[in-house]
């Protein structure tokens, strides 16, 4: 399931790229700025700022949807068929996030910018959520991309089974691997995931000499200390298949989306990290022989 296709992305890999965002993620990072990507099924998003109070959604969704003094109240747990709401709201204040697109449909959208990929050395990046945790159709989709000679990158947490990775091997030109921490307990506390799984997969990929770029989300209160960063950088530098590392500073652009999805944002009190705060990390990574960048 896809939740967004973004054309002309220039900060996620080589050249000009189209990013396909897959819906569903095995982790629940507390800082996550894409909350709509976490669940595998459809989500209902509501933006009160553009709501015109036409009330069509209430007709359809009562009593789970109703007007209150603070705008619309949506009891998402009690809405069985979210699909029914897709074209209900004329002003698109209430939207259904998530769409099942076939590989053919996806390819059609992606081919639109083919000339731009060719000129710039770009291609497609699969992102999410966790694209590798989707069903087998991702493999088929990657196959189609390769048949059409389109460069493929996958942005992944590697928090998936080895089998889920294995079936895609040979079709992914570049792995953009999220490496969040080196400490098992901290990883579990902040992501609900198991670092062991990530590390095993990463080591296997390294042994297979896949092209890997490490991307570190720099998160206040989680890994934003020189000591913790050194740990991640040292680990990355020890992998032969890695020569490039990206630091992605925490930003707060996702906080509004939590409200729109009716979710609580555990990280709502944190401030964005500025580029300058990353300088020591960049320097250390360079010292370790890595090609280091802010963003992508």
């Amino acid at each position: 399931m896809i939740f967004n296709i973004q054309r002309y992305s220039i900060h996620d890999g080589e050249g000009i790229r189209t990013i396909v965002f897959f819906k569903g993620c095995p982790l629940r990072c507390k800082w996550c700025s894409n909350p709509e990507s976490q669940t595998y099924g459809l989500s209902l998003m509501y933006d009160h700022r553009i709501c015109k109070n036409f009330g069509d959604c209430i007709q359809k969704g009562k009593p789970a949807i109703k007007f209150t003094n603070e705008g619309l109240s949506i009891d998402r747990a009690n809405i069985k068929n979210k699909e029914e709401f897709r074209d209900i709201c004329l002003s698109k204040a209430l939207t259904v996030i998530g769409e099942d697109l076939s590989a053919v449909e996806l390819l059609k959208e992606i081919e639109k910018d083919k000339l731009f990929y060719q000129q710039s050395g770009g291609g497609v990046t699969l992102s999410g959520g966790e694209p590798l945790s989707q069903n087998g159709s991702v493999t088929y989709f990657l196959d189609e991309l390769k048949k059409n000679k389109i460069h493929t990158s996958v942005e992944t947490t590697l928090h998936v089974t080895w089998n889920q990775i294995k079936r895609c091997l040979g079709r992914i030109d570049c792995f953009l691997v999220d490496l969040k921490h080196t400490e098992k307990s901290k990883f579990r506390d902040y992501t609900e995931g198991d670092l062991e799984l990530v590390m095993t997969n990463l080591k296997k990929l390294n042994e297979l000499r896949e092209h890997i770029i490490i991307r570190i989300p720099v998160i206040p209160g989680f890994n934003h200390t020189l000591e913790e960063m050194k740990g991640i950088i040292n680990l990355s530098a020890s992998l032969q298949s890695v020569d490039e590392i990206h630091f992605i500073p925490y930003h707060t652009l996702g906080s509004e989306k939590y409200k729109m999805l009716g979710m609580d944002y555990p990280y709502s009190n944190h401030k964005a990290i500025s580029d300058t705060e990353l300088t020591p990390y960049l320097e250390f990574a360079k010292l370790k022989g890595l090609n280091a960048k802010i963003g992508g």
Partner: protein, 811 residues
């Protein structure tokens, strides 16, 4: 020859601005635009005195008197001299074009919401007397008199607008600077003399030609004398000057002016000075705008190269001379009636300078001067000149990178034109290969061959497409004026299919296309008979040879275009109706019309507006459905246009044809202000979309999708220009990697998709909002308005809001 990459290292970036330039720049920026009555007085007295003479002779005498008697001055520190009127940034009045607006608008000139002018009580009195004498004798009246009642009505209800051409005249031209610098003014006198000698006076043509040559001779001689006045002034100032350094400079100015007053220039400084004088007198002669300088990096290069080789000049000196010239260009000012100013906000004169492109052999023409011009324009950050770069597929990344450096300064320059589409299409139109490779941008984005092309390669009438579209829905009725100019084939409520709607569109657009040509013909005839340009004709090939002014058919080529406004709205309206009314039947015809008539107010109409906005595809998102509907509809106009010729047809020039054009400058705001609500969900009287750009805020798929949509337009048939403006936030091009990616999409757009033009506005929304709040602080903030840049704070609030609303792409 060094490789281009090496060249870029050679030409180090010139960032320092000398103190002299800094002072001159501040001075011109601080000068409050005012009104100068000198030219108006001279022209009026000569016209009165010589009422018996043919108009061309009258104009020659009037120009002569003006150049002889107008106030001249040389400012402290300047190295390039010449002034347009009695004060810095004062606008002369051109009474022979239009006067009615003067008494009407005089008292409010300093209170205009945009482009205000200061005027004294004494000047008001003088102008009132002048206006009184000219009543009924001016271009505006004569042009209107040539229109039928029907045309006047169409014009007055603003479905077709040509006011600018009637109040300001022609221009939109670049003269033959190569020849001017080669032969000097004396060369022209000799040439005129030899052709005049062959004139046989026994027929009408002979008499006309003789008058023409007399006028040219007076014109050129007056110009020589004008330049000599500056030599005298410089000599006079040199004598008073205490500072020996400045004394030497003034002596150089005097020597330069003496020399070029007749002879061709012998060094770079003289060549640039003569170039500026030419520009200046053309701006005194005619009230038009978009008088352009052509390919400056090419025709000045031989002078520069020789001076560099002989050690006569350094790059820093050359940059300083350019900077001085740009300041001078900004000092030239013209005033327009408010009705016209609204269409071209920010008081621009669109004095275009073009650099880059290819040589006639198809080699990359970027040279050291291209870099120096680029840097000097970047240093100055002024609205003039309007700098264009000719892209071609072998242009170096190094040069494009340097262009982006200037673009990121955020004043909208340079813009890019594309050789890959322009040159082959010009050749197809019958332009000789050598000329096609030598084209330059004129004004903002339009193109012509300098010195060989007639006026107005674009910029004839403005056709308001959405008014025509609404008439197609209402059986020919123009709901705004209540008039039916052209009975339709039925009412929308009775249409059974999209095909019916399209037929109705076809029926109306054919009619209005013909009307634009009829209006242009009346305007052109009036221009030819009433305000022929003398010097401008002298400097355009083959006027001297044929003994004709440009308007009479003197130029080698003649292709023109009007401007069609509301491109994106047309496509979006068609798509909304096709999909929602005819295919999905979500919306009834009656309800749609009712919603439009209610301007989308009331809940029912509001719901319909949201449906139109959110449930129909929009142009600018690479969606074939809507893009193709737009192309089909626009092609109806383009195909109809093929049947018509300009007034010069059969009189000498190659072409004499029309093509389409979308470089509608800021006309989208006033054009929208006369259009009721439209089926694309647009509210009544709000701006329509600008140029070929998507409607503000609807291009949600980013710049590549916009490029794809725009490139689906029949660009080869829109040689009047396909204007695309993209706004970027500064954050999106922070580092070299971002810039490289931007260069890469520009390459794809031009080399592969054969786009016509692109320009970037790189100003953050916050900055614009702040400038709206506190205009004093931001008086030098420049934004790209359409095909040109303007000082943001001089724009009317409407135009300001429109710019703020345009989609900002985050890369």
């Amino acid at each position: 020859m060094p490789k281009l990459e090496d060249k870029m290292i050679e030409i180090k970036e010139s960032k320092k601005i000398s103190k002299r330039i800094h002072t001159l720049r501040e001075k011109v920026l601080r000068a409050k635009p005012s009104v100068c009555t000198e030219r108006a007085k001279f022209y009026t007295s000569v016209y009165k005195e010589h009422e018996d003479k043919p108009v061309i002779i009258r104009r020659a005498f009037a120009l002569q008197k003006t150049l002889k008697e107008m106030t001249i001055f040389i400012d402290d520190g300047e190295l390039i001299v010449g002034n347009h009127s009695s004060q810095l940034r004062a606008a002369p009045i051109f009474p022979e074009y239009a006067v009615d607006w003067l008494p009407e608008e005089m008292d409010d000139l300093d209170k205009r919401p945009g482009d205000a002018f200061f005027i004294t009580e004494q000047h008001k009195q003088e102008l009132l007397e002048i206006a009184d004498w000219w009543k009924g004798k001016v271009l505006y009246d004569k042009g209107r008199a040539l229109m039928t009642q029907e045309l006047r009505d169409i014009h007055d209800t603003a479905i077709i607008k040509a006011t600018g051409n009637l109040t300001s005249g022609d221009a939109h031209i670049a003269v033959d600077f190569i020849k001017i610098l080669e032969t000097g003014l004396s060369g022209y006198l000799e040439e005129i003399k030899s052709y005049a000698g062959e004139v046989k006076g026994y027929n009408q043509e002979g008499i006309r030609k003789a008058q023409f040559y007399d006028a040219l001779t007076i014109g050129i001689q007056s110009m020589s004398a004008f330049i000599k006045r500056y030599a005298d002034q410089a000599k006079y100032l040199a004598k008073q000057e205490q500072d020996p350094g400045r004394t030497r400079e003034l002596e150089t100015i005097a020597d330069n002016c003496t020399h070029i007053s007749e002879k061709p220039p012998v060094n770079f400084h003289q060549a640039l000075q003569l170039t500026f004088f030419i520009q200046l007198v053309l701006q005194i002669e005619s009230n038009g705008h978009s008088v352009s300088l052509g390919r400056m990096d090419q025709y000045l290069y031989p002078f520069y190269k020789q001076d560099i080789l002989t050690g006569n000049i350094t790059d820093d000196q050359a940059v300083e001379l350019f900077e001085n010239t740009w300041i001078k260009l900004l000092s030239i000012n013209k005033i327009r009636p408010w009705a016209h100013t609204r269409f071209s906000a920010g008081g621009p004169l669109y004095q275009n300078v073009t650099i880059g492109g290819q040589t006639t052999e198809g080699m990359d023409a970027v040279n050291d001067l291209s870099y120096l011009i680029l840097d000097s324009v970047g240093n100055m950050k002024l609205t003039q000149p309007n700098l264009s770069v000719r892209f071609h597929k072998n242009i170096s990344d190094a040069f494009l990178m340097r262009c982006l450096k200037v673009i990121t300064k955020g004043f909208g320059m340079p813009a890019f034109n594309n050789d890959e589409i322009v040159i082959p299409e010009l050749i197809k139109l019958g332009v000789e290969k050598e000329d096609a490779y030598n084209y330059s941008a004129i004004g903002c984005i339009e193109i012509a061959v300098p010195g060989k092309w007639g006026y107005r390669c674009t910029g004839m009438s403005f056709l308001n497409l959405m008014r025509v579209f609404l008439a197609a829905l209402y059986d020919g009725l123009d709901t705004r004026s209540g008039k039916t100019f052209h009975k339709g084939i039925g009412h929308f409520n009775n249409f059974n299919s999209y095909e019916d709607l399209f037929k109705a569109w076809k029926h109306q657009i054919k009619y209005y296309t013909r009307k634009t040509v009829e209006i242009d013909t009346a305007v052109d005839t009036a221009l030819e008979e009433n305000v022929p340009d003398i010097l401008c004709s002298a400097f355009v090939d083959s006027c001297i040879e044929r003994g004709k002014t440009i308007k009479e058919g003197g130029s080698k080529y003649d292709f023109i275009s009007g401007l069609q406004v509301g491109i994106a709205n047309l496509g979006n309206s068609l798509a909304a109706i096709k999909k929602l009314v005819f295919e999905e039947e979500k919306l009834s015809k009656e309800d749609l019309l009712e919603a439009i008539e209610n301007d989308f107010t009331g809940e029912k109409a509001e719901r319909i507006q949201q449906m139109l906005l959110n449930f129909a595809p929009k142009y600018g998102n690479d969606n074939d459905y809507v893009d193709q509907l737009l192309v089909d509809a626009y092609m109806e106009f383009i195909n109809e246009l093929r049947h018509y010729h300009t007034t010069r047809h059969g009189k000498g020039p190659i072409g004499c044809q029309y093509y389409a054009g979308t470089s509608s400058i800021s006309a989208n705001v006033p054009s929208g202000s006369v259009v009721p609500a439209t089926p694309d969900g647009r509210k009544a009287f709000t701006p329509v979309a600008e140029g070929s750009s998507p409607t503000s805020g609807t291009d949600t798929k980013g710049p590549t999708a916009v490029f794809k949509s725009v490139s689906k337009l029949p660009t080869d048939r829109i040689m009047g220009g396909v204007l695309l403006n993209q706004k970027l936030s500064p954050a999106s091009i922070r580092n070299d990697s971002d810039k490289k990616k931007l260069i890469s999409i520009i390459r794809t757009f031009f080399a592969d998709l054969k786009g016509w033009h692109i320009q970037y506005n790189i100003v953050s929304r916050e900055t614009l909002l702040a400038a709206q709040e506190d205009p004093e602080k931001y008086r030098d903030l420049i934004v790209r308005v359409a095909g040109y840049s303007a000082f943001f704070t001089t724009l009317s609030p409407d135009t300001q809001n429109d710019i703020i609303a345009r989609t900002e792409h985050f890369l």
